[in-house]
């Protein structure tokens, strides 16, 4: 896993979503553990495009359950 991806994702989750950094472990589940809800995924799509420069399809996010899934998804898509 590229550390800069982990750092960037954790940074936006902490800053924009006000999630405690101690909770940001790879196995943390986005909905159940981090309290991210369906509307928040809309904003995650916006932030990924802003920070990583690629377009996310809303349906791509359906398989993303844990923070690790999110890192991996971004790693495979980011140029």
């Amino acid at each position: 896993m590229k550390p800069e991806i982990v750092a960037k994702v954790n940074e936006f989750l902490a800053e924009e979503f006000e999630i405690e950094t101690a909770l940001l472990t790879p196995e943390a589940r986005l909905v159940e553990d981090l309290g991210i809800e369906s509307l928040d995924f809309v904003d995650i799509v916006v932030i990924i495009e802003r920070d990583f420069g690629f377009k996310v399809k809303r349906e791509d996010m359906e398989g993303v359950r844990t923070l690790e899934d999110l890192y991996k998804y971004i790693e495979t898509r980011a140029v």
Binding site: F17, E18, L39, D40, V42, D43, V46, E49, K55
Partner: protein, 406 residues
């Protein structure tokens, strides 16, 4: 029929961010008007505006609750929290009892403009984000506050132009009077940004006295040259007397009557007949006579025709007793969607503290405004009953009569 009382109020305005600050500004006749230099860049005729600071709610609300709040929603949140505290209502009470919300709002420009700018530039709606839809609808204030406060009663927004929040109080009064609700959070919020005011500025409705901003809003004065746009939010808690008694609440005032009418005339030019019918209907509903009214908080925005026609209407009904009249818009500017509710609060503060706030900048009357008993300075006076007028585009009129609770 239930008696309807007011048990709480809260305000976030250009003349103060809470009840205590507003009380002092009213008493000392302080103006909240200044200049917004951005309006010059935008080609406005007038850069005059009420000046207000955006509250920072980062420590008050979680992100999900903040992202749906537009500018006027933030003001409304602050005013409503003060009103609930004033009424002795906490979150626990709101979760266990059915409380409603009826709020006046008639625009939400910035989120609409920003979303469309983004669509035009990026051609991708997913980049707008999740907050814009909840910020951009007219019902933005009620939809957000009802979620934040976990409200389970009536819940919608009233859009009646510059009479919006006066009608909201009127409607809440009728619902409580009929026994359909016990407690309703009422009020109005008004955005103040340049973008929301451009089309109004384009009608040449605004004062252009930019060299002396605090002198610009001159309701009833002979030399008035237009209104000054303003904003903020104001909340009152309406409650049935039985409910207030049951929870041992402090009763601030009683709502005695609501009058309304439509001019059936021009879209922007007010007339005399419409307001006269609203005034009469309100007096009839309250079971009061013109001479029972101690103070009139006029709608008077400082437009030449609007003030003249309101002066004629007031003189027609109240000419015999000539109660004190002032337009607090001389200090606040025209708070539009918020004005009906804020002016009820200004008048309640005066009633509570036994003074009539000055109609500042009233230096010379004209043929019509000279017939009214206008308070050109602060007057120490016991107020038992007051009346508040609010009129809006389309010829919508609303009048409220409120008194000390006896």
């Amino acid at each position: 029929m239930n008696r309807v009382v007011i048990t709480g109020m809260g305000i976030y305005s250009t003349i103060g961010k809470n009840l205590a600050e507003v009380r002092d500004s009213l008493y000392y006749g302080r103006s909240g008007i200044g200049i917004d230099p951005r309006r010059k860049e935008f080609g406005f005729r007038s850069c005059l505006t009420g000046v207000i600071e955006r509250p920072n709610l980062k420590n008050d609300l979680p992100r999900r609750m903040r992202v749906g709040l537009a500018e006027q929603g933030e003001y409304s949140y602050v005013a409503t929290m003060e009103a609930l505290k004033n009424a002795g209502i906490d979150m626990d009470f709101l979760e266990k009892n059915e409380v409603g919300i009826l709020y006046g709002n008639d625009s939400s420009s910035i989120p609409v403009i920003e979303s469309i700018d983004l669509i035009r530039e990026k051609r991708d709606t997913t980049l707008i984000g999740s907050g814009a839809i909840f910020q951009s609808m007219n019902s933005t204030i009620t939809m957000n506050l009802s979620v934040i406060l976990k409200l389970r009663g009536i819940n919608f927004t009233i859009s009646g132009a510059c009479a919006s929040s006066s009608h909201a109080i009127g409607m809440a009064y009728l619902l409580i009077k009929q026994g359909l609700q016990d407690i309703i959070i009422c009020g109005g919020g008004q955005e103040i940004n340049a973008e929301s005011m451009g089309s109004f500025d384009g009608l040449s409705a605004f004062s252009t006295r930019e060299d002396a901003p605090t002198k610009a809003s001159r309701p009833f004065d002979r030399d008035r040259d237009g209104l000054v746009p303003s904003g903020g939010a104001a909340t009152v808690i309406l409650e049935s007397y039985e409910s207030a008694k049951r929870r041992g609440a402090r009763i601030l005032a009683e709502v005695n009557g609501y009058g309304f009418s439509s001019n059936g005339d021009h879209i922007s030019v007010p007339n005399v007949d419409g307001p006269v019918r609203s005034l009469k209907r309100c007096l009839d509903d309250a079971g009061l006579k013109a001479c029972d009214i101690d103070y009139i908080n006029a709608h008077a925005t400082a437009t030449p025709i609007g003030d003249m026609n309101e002066a004629k209407a007031i003189d027609l009904i109240f000419g015999e007793c000539r109660p004190l009249v002032s337009s607090t818009k001389s200090m606040t500017g025209h708070e539009m969607w918020m004005g009906g509710a804020s002016e009820v609060i200004y008048s309640m503060i005066m009633m509570e503290n036994s003074f009539v706030a000055p109609n500042i900048n009233f230096e010379n009357p004209d043929e019509f405004t000279g017939k009214l008993n206008i308070a050109d300075k602060t007057i120490e006076k016991k107020i038992e009953v007051f009346l508040s007028n609010s009129f809006g585009f389309g010829g919508t009129n609303s009048t409220l009569i409120i008194s000390k609770f006896k």
